[in-house]
Symmetry: C2
Subunit: 445 residues, 2 copies
């Protein structure tokens, strides 16, 4: 009764907050109320952050997670892709270093007639973003209107668009608050954040690439599996088909980290020159996309078909078609090497001793790339598209004194100060007992 | 590293927040930093409230509680009462309904030469505040300057002053945020809030009256004992002598609830006409005040001496002297009955059946009194000083159909709508097996 006079809104959200603090479930209407009023700025942030911390400690039930996801999804535009039928599949990665899988699996699936609507984000912190990678191609436009999104998807079968302000704005606002209040790392909140955006863009099937390890958002395999399960569960509650591939993210995926460098590596992968680990993950993800969209009967056939699309160059052509459709300069497809000549500074990191590479710490490498301009520390940081690192050796590879392990590209002299961080990320041992190379750790369906 | 560019302050407090969230201890300097910067408005409230919720779940260690208390104490004026030596004792109640013990034990102790500096608060919610009670005496001034506080204390041996803005401002600001974010009910935060104010006003000894039960801040005896222990421990870390009396607050203390009504009941108590339960608590608290200040050797002697000061009317004279010294109209001492004639509406609540009173729900009664103007729901609510309830029956008393259990005084007709709440607070049963009457449940030293 005490709070009644403070106004209905204060009262209601305060009660919701106390309920969650005390470990009770929040009713569906109350979650809907919370999301709606929060977006309108009618609930003070200090109450929402206290609520989020209570959620951090007490969690959300399956039903609460469903409701939060739904409310956030409904807070903005919801795309209806039913016109494309069941042969339409989305793909989402929880984020890693050197993760250019979308640029490979998207063209592969689309080249087999699957519609692939890719709504992607910018990079922040140590993980890169697909938007930044594609923007490194001169002319490539990602801020697509809903109309253009549909037209490219219809015509090419594949589209990459940056997350607009209109997709799940509640998630955007809530995430910004979570980011500064230590409430990001909660399974239910992560799940609802990912799913609200994925559901709003409407594909009937979704393949998740849940990264695990030093360079991933979740470092332990146990947590990653739990997230995969929560994503699948929520997807199914919304009547979506879904599969989650758990993949290793202890070392960067493939050889390149850096926007333009990764585009070029993707093109080379589609030409059949992809690194072993990158291809393992890309083929698994592509395979599952083909299974969920009904093109392949099972994952074996899915991987087989995916491989074939690389061998017959159809996936490469599809990527080129896509780049052209979205206004990008396709000359890069014919001369991938030129990107390595544009940076002002090039520094080689040599082994300096004999041994086996036992660690290429993905997180440290991701941070390093951010500092040398390949990523952003703040949302308004400018990116140097050709900056980054190319690895000539991967974990498990033997090296001698003079072997170049990595080549670093950057634009400003003072960035050389950060090279220590990269050096620190590389460990060479007498012997290496790890299971080098195996990247696909499991599948959650 | 990510947060480094957002500015040093953001970075540091974010790290403190994460540390507490993850269950680690916060360093002394970091707690000092937090309190200092928070008072200056340099840490966003949404981060502080998330931190408070993390404290709610993970608690504060003894050392952290000490540091928080110290930093909040040092955030404003700190009184030095050393001039009064060891014969100086403060008293603090965690708040209850009908709790006028300060108005009784203060005069008793002061009448025996003990210096009693009472820094008190206003009521908010269902519990009353000593400031409101004394302000119901026409002319009584409580907003004393530090100088006047010392002069009244020196001359009368007793002073009542409202908490100024200058005493522990950090606690004031932090409490306001806790109040709206569900982070009040944490032992360490409660302890540091109480202690920062008590320590700032500087008495070498403190007697705590920790209420427990339906009308108390803490409802379970276990929690109340834990709070008592935390208060004593913190007091000792600051080299204060301290005792905590755990007292029952399931039914209101004494017969009157309401500001002027309680002043009148206190005067009657000092005249020797106090209700049994009120006297039990008042004498215990007075006794311990005498023990801590060295006037009595032990609690038995303390209670004996306290009783004597009532019998010889010296405590009554001291109260009158105090009221006069602080500008209050002392005519109320000669005609306590007139207060029952000032309210516009008087309603009797009758038993309506035969039986034994098994419950007078203190919380409900406290809320009821707030609604009829005897307390405030918001800090800026105006109080009707003569409004309130007088109970003619207490828990354990036998009643017949026509017996008046309570008489209600109020000013506005529409307040009669709330009478249901009072009726709901009273339970009459066939028999009553509770330990009616016993109010002092234990002592923590």
């Amino acid at each position: 009764m005490l709070l009644a006079k403070r106004g209905v809104l204060m009262k209601s959200f305060y009660e919701i907050l106390i309920k969650k603090r005390d470990g009770f479930e929040i009713d569906s209407e109350d979650i809907e109320f919370f999301v709606r009023e929060f977006v309108k700025g009618r609930i003070p942030e200090y109450q929402v952050s206290a609520f989020l911390m209570a959620v951090y400690f007490n969690g959300l039930s399956e039903r609460e997670t469903f409701d939060l996801t739904k409310s956030m999804m409904m807070s903005g535009d919801v795309y209806d892709l039913s016109v494309f039928g069941k042969k339409c599949v989305d793909k989402h990665s929880t984020g890693g270093v050197g993760d250019k899988v979308s640029l490979i699996c998207g063209p592969i699936a689309a080249s087999l007639g699957v519609k692939v609507p890719m709504m992607c984000g910018r990079g922040l912190g140590h993980t890169g973003g697909t938007v930044d990678k594609l923007e490194s191609i001169p002319g490539f436009g990602l801020g697509l209107s809903k109309k253009r999104f549909f037209s490219v998807l219809k015509r090419v079968g594949l589209v990459f668009s940056s997350q607009t302000e209109k997709i799940a704005p509640a998630d955007k606002k809530l995430y910004a608050l979570r980011d500064v209040t230590g409430t990001v790392e909660n399974l239910s909140l992560i799940t609802s954040s990912i799913m609200s955006k994925k559901l709003a863009t409407g594909a009937p099937s979704i393949v998740f690439d849940v990264k695990t390890g030093k360079g991933a958002f979740l470092q332990s395999e146990k947590e990653s599996i739990a997230l995969a399960r929560a994503l699948i569960k929520t997807a199914k509650l919304f009547k979506r088909k879904a599969v989650a591939v758990i993949t290793d993210m202890n070392e960067p995926l493939g050889c390149c980290v850096g926007n333009m460098l990764e585009v070029v590596e993707s093109i080379e992968a589609l030409k059949g020159n992809g690194a072993k680990d990158l291809m393992e993950v890309s083929l698994a993800v592509s395979g599952w996309m083909l299974v969920l969209s009904g093109v392949a009967k099972n994952i074996r056939e899915g991987v087989f078909l995916a491989k074939k699309q690389i061998e017959n160059s159809r996936a490469l052509s599809k990527f080129r078609e896509l780049v052209k459709a979205q206004g990008g300069d396709v000359s890069i497809f014919d001369d991938t090497k030129r990107v390595f000549k544009t940076s002002r500074f090039v520094v080689d990191i040599k082994a300096g001793k004999k041994g086996v590479i036992s660690e290429l710490h993905a997180r440290k490498i991701g941070d390093f790339c951010t500092y040398i301009g390949a990523g952003r520390q703040r949302l308004d940081d400018k990116i140097d598209y050709a900056s980054g690192v190319v690895f000539f050796k991967k974990v498990g590879d033997k090296v001698s004194n003079d072997d170049v392990i990595a080549r670093v590209y950057f634009e400003r002299k003072e960035m050389a100060d950060y090279l220590d961080i990269l050096a620190d990320a590389v460990k060479i041992s007498g012997r290496y007992n790890g299971k080098a190379g195996k990247k696909v750790l499991g599948v959650v369906r």
